[in-house]
């Protein structure tokens, strides 16, 4: 397929703007750019076809089953898109006077209220644009809290080795030293190791519950207490909230600060890698440190307010507002009952799939799972040479997006499957059949899988070459 720069003809273009209706003003030559940018020269028809072709080579939730563990690829409701596109939301300038954007401020206020209720928090900021951004923000809140108390010894953040890579990276960015604690066999936090790791230098613990192998850590209250007793705070990575919304709240588990991924749990679309939104909620003890401005309500009027000891901004303006509109639309649609129903069925669907595959595939953790489960392909690899990668490539030929591969790091040859609640039983049964038949193929014709995928536009890319000799842009020469 051609690149957009390889199509078109010199002098071709679209006519978008009218002639200038004011006199020409000139800018000194010395301030002008010397070389014009080389942008495509296409008709609208060319452009339209090009992107239609690209869309044809893209696979979204809208195309088929997408059981990507830890990403919560649930259905993206169309009404969300329509609401975010209303001119009253999309055509308002962020710096309009407050009395002209009361509706927008209401969106932020109402969503904050709903999400605080769901998570058991007291305050929230929508500034962070993504989960990792939220982690960074939440950790800065913890840092500011200790500094404010005059406690400068707390320099360490404890992170289980099962955590998503963003956790330690965010902690490092926030200026902390990361203490990694090994998980138990079942992926849960090892209480003894945790007790040994906490001390006067503990600023906090970062955890997700259910954890990254899909299990709810039964000892959660003990865990958060150990950290609190040592003087630290507890940070909740909300990536896995889809398992427990409406069932249990991080605030009740002993967490002081949380981030949410609106583009996972709250159905806003992933967009091919963004934009998402990673709001950070916190208990009252941290609310004064939140990035400002936040929305306050006084006698029916909304106004912006910057918290007294705010850590400052982590982004311009108020955050990914259009994404918040979509999340609010979703929350209002579901209501209290629907939120609970979503989580319950996310967990049911995952357990159903796991049950129907556990006679063939080795499950990393042999118990009930939450909204996702992890399989280990290590035994199959030892027996047939077929790895998690090979099974994933085999799935591609069946129109199913592979599960998350090689994460969490504590499971070898891992495949993490998260069906979500928006898949029908028929879809699950079809997928189960595909997984089962791939298993058979691994046993009877492993070469077929080593050579997979066979039916995709490109196959088995040279990633080594791409990294050794990076070619990161089209060259016009």
């Amino acid at each position: 397929m051609k690149l957009i720069f390889e199509s078109g003809a010199s002098g071709r273009g679209c006519s978008v703007l009218p002639e200038c209706d004011v006199p020409v003003f000139s800018l000194p030559e010395s301030m002008r750019r010397e070389k014009a940018p080389n942008l495509p020269q296409l008709s609208e028809n060319d452009i339209s076809r090009h992107y239609t072709a690209l869309a044809g080579r893209t696979h979204g939730v809208n195309n088929g089953f997408y059981p990507l563990g830890s990403c919560t690829m649930k259905y993206n409701p169309k009404i969300n898109e329509e609401m975010a596109a209303l001119p009253g939301f999309s055509s308002i300038h962020p710096l309009q006077p407050e009395h002209t954007v009361q509706g927008a401020m209401e969106v932020l206020y109402q969503t904050e209220k709903a999400l605080c209720e769901i998570t058991g928090m007291d305050g929230m900021t929508f500034q962070p644009a993504a989960g990792a951004h939220g982690e960074f923000t939440g950790l800065l809140l913890i840092k500011a809290y200790h500094k404010h108390r005059g406690d400068s010894k707390r320099t360490k953040i404890i992170v289980p080795d099962s955590a998503h890579g963003t956790n330690p990276a965010s902690a490092a960015m926030a200026g902390f030293t990361v203490v990694s604690i090994p998980s138990q066999e079942d992926g849960c936090v090892d209480l003894e190791k945790l007790r040994a790791a906490v001390g006067e230098d503990t600023a906090g613990l970062m955890l997700t519950n259910p954890n990254t192998v899909g299990l709810f850590d039964k000892n959660i209250l003990e865990i958060t207490k150990i950290v609190h007793d040592a003087g630290g705070l507890n940070y909740y990575d909300g990536a896995n909230l889809n398992a427990v919304m409406g069932i249990s709240r991080p605030g009740d588990m002993g967490f002081d600060v949380v981030h949410l991924n609106l583009h996972k749990t709250f159905s806003t679309p992933h967009g091919g890698g963004g934009p998402g939104s990673g709001p950070v909620g916190c208990k009252a003890l941290l609310a004064d440190f939140l990035p400002g401005p936040v929305v306050k309500e006084e006698q029916g009027q909304y106004r912006f307010h910057t918290p007294e000891h705010s850590i400052g901004r982590v982004k311009s303006f108020y955050g990914n507002f259009a994404v918040v509109v979509k999340a609010l639309t979703y929350i209002l649609t579901l209501g209290a009952e629907g939120i609970r129903e979503a989580s319950q069925n996310a967990v049911l669907n995952a357990n159903y799939m796991m049950k129907k595959l556990c006679d063939l595939y080795t499950m990393a953790y042999d118990e009930r799972c939450m909204h996702e489960f992890v399989m280990s392909l290590e035994p199959l690899k030892k027996e047939t040479g077929i790895s998690a990668m090979d099974i994933a490539k085999g799935l591609l030929d069946n129109g199913i997006h592979p599960p998350t591969m090689y994460f969490p790091l504590i499971v070898h040859e891992a495949l993490m499957v998260e069906p979500t609640e928006t898949e029908s039983k028929e879809t699950l049964d079809e997928a189960i059949e595909v997984f089962r038949s791939l298993y058979e193929t691994a046993k009877t014709d492993p070469q077929a899988l080593h050579d997979a995928p066979h039916h995709t536009p490109v196959r088995r890319l040279d990633e080594v070459g791409a990294a050794r000799n990076p070619k990161l842009r089209y060259s016009f020469e």
């Binding site: 690149l3 809208n62 644009a129 982004k315 311009s316 536009p457 890319l461 990294a467 842009r473």
Partner: protein
């Protein structure tokens, strides 16, 4: 209650049975009683049907005033968005896809990012671009982080950059213990003499915004020379539309170019989602954060695209990664690409020249009104600061006509207004605004 769960009651029973439990309750056996919410415990309103939601959200949207004429910029710009942009970015495949980790079925997203990276390089003149970051302010903060090394850790940021950028950089630098000093402004531009005095061998970078927050065109070349002479890196935060016309960061000697990509086809959207672009020299390619798409071949020799240089990123380096960033703003980057394709070089130049011309026309007409003189003497792109005899009255009068006036400034510039004009402001609109202001000022 609204629901997107397709399984019927019967199917749920079937599945529960297959799993070996009697109820949903049992699935949550590991959740301690004390923290399990009872049904109905969540204090949220009941769900709604689609029709009711539509009405509710429309009512909220209706409480926002959509201005017909906008003369305010300050980081969010009202440019014309060609129709094709919204149609392409609404394609379900692009909207609902995830990050292209499985390259074989994501060539569409990967190629579109590769094209975006190329366009950003063309726009800025730089050699390498990443797949984008959250916004212009965080892009600046990430750029500062790229410049730090063991010996040089201090960042110098121009006071004439956008306040949100300065604040965001400060927050990020507080996290990494990077000292930040603000380079003072003089007559609305970065004071290069002050900059020279502030430079020593502890400084890792100098950041200038072009055009700056006040709309003024900085002496970007000279700032770069001064920075390099002192061994510091030079970061330019730029306006992408202005690059249709003014000297590029590459031509001004920048090591890193960043900026806010919202003007490239993204709606105002009350401040987000926006688009942070980052581009740099080849020498810095392994330090640039975020995703990058590279070209390669597949097993059959076909050209293909893949996420590359991943060993820089958090999922591999974990706490040793230079940035924690995981997602980019993919759909926003796609928006910018479609915009640039639809506008082409000529269209972008037009958008730039017209924004420039309209702003200058507006400023010239305004300068004729007593009390509304230009505050700064230098060249400007499409924003300018004037004094104003009665800011609240002027703003109210404009608002009554459906016109969003410039941004009232505070602090040392209290009583002044930051105005903006783009190619979308017709001469008629500008004349109407001038007439309103004239009337208020009794001229």
């Amino acid at each position: 209650m609204g629901s997107y769960v397709p399984s019927t009651r019967e199917q749920r029973q079937e599945m529960l049975k297959a799993v070996g439990v009697a109820s949903f309750e049992e699935l949550y056996a590991d959740v301690p009683e004390s923290m399990r919410l009872k049904e109905g415990a969540l204090n949220l309103p009941d769900g709604m049907s689609e029709m009711e939601i539509m009405a509710r959200m429309k009512s909220m949207a209706g409480k926002n005033k959509v201005f017909t004429s906008i003369f305010r910029g300050a980081g969010s710009y009202n440019h014309y968005i060609p129709s094709i942009v919204k149609r392409v970015t609404a394609k379900e495949e692009f909207v609902t896809a995830y990050t292209p980790y499985q390259a074989e079925i994501s060539q569409g997203v990967l190629q579109s990012i590769f094209e975006y990276q190329t366009m950003i390089c063309e726009l800025t003149g730089m050699e390498v671009s990443n797949a984008s970051v959250y916004d212009g302010a965080t892009a600046a903060a990430e750029a500062v982080a790229m410049c730090r090394d063991r010996k040089r850790t201090k960042a110098l940021i121009s006071a004439a950059a956008h306040p949100d950028l300065i604040q965001t950089v400060k927050t990020y630098c507080e996290g990494s213990n990077t000292p930040v000093e603000i380079i003072p402004a003089k007559d609305g531009k970065t004071d290069l003499d002050a900059l020279s005095a502030m430079l020593d061998d502890s400084v890792c970078c100098v950041l200038i915004q072009q055009p700056n927050y006040f709309g003024q065109l900085e002496n970007a070349d000279q700032a770069g020379v001064i920075a390099h002479e002192a061994g510091a890196k030079y970061i330019m935060s730029c306006n992408p539309i202005s690059l249709g016309m003014i000297k590029t960061p590459a031509e001004s000697g920048a090591d890193i170019a960043v900026g806010e990509g919202q003007p490239l086809g993204l709606s105002l959207s009350f401040g987000g989602p926006y688009l942070g672009f980052m581009a740099c020299t080849n020498a810095l390619v392994r330090k640039i954060p975020g995703r990058i798409v590279g070209e390669t071949t597949d097993v059959d020799g076909k050209r293909a695209y893949v996420l590359t240089l991943q060993a820089r990123e958090q999922h591999i380096r974990r706490e040793k990664a230079s940035s924690n960033i995981c997602s980019n703003q993919a759909l926003c980057a796609l928006t910018a690409s479609v915009y640039l394709a639809a506008m082409g070089t000529k269209g972008l130049q037009q958008a730039a020249e017209q924004s420039f011309a309209k702003a200058h026309y507006f400023a010239a007409e305004m300068a004729k009104i007593p009390g509304c003189e230009l505050r700064f003497s230098g060249e400007f792109f499409h924003e300018f600061v004037t004094s104003c005899p009665d800011v609240p009255k002027v703003m109210a009068a404009l608002e009554a006509q459906g016109i969003l006036g410039g941004l009232p400034l505070g602090g040392e510039l209290s009583g002044c207004v930051l105005w903006c004009a783009t190619e979308q402001n017709s001469k008629e609109e500008i004349d109407r605004a001038i007439a309103v202001i004239k009337e208020v000022c009794g001229a």
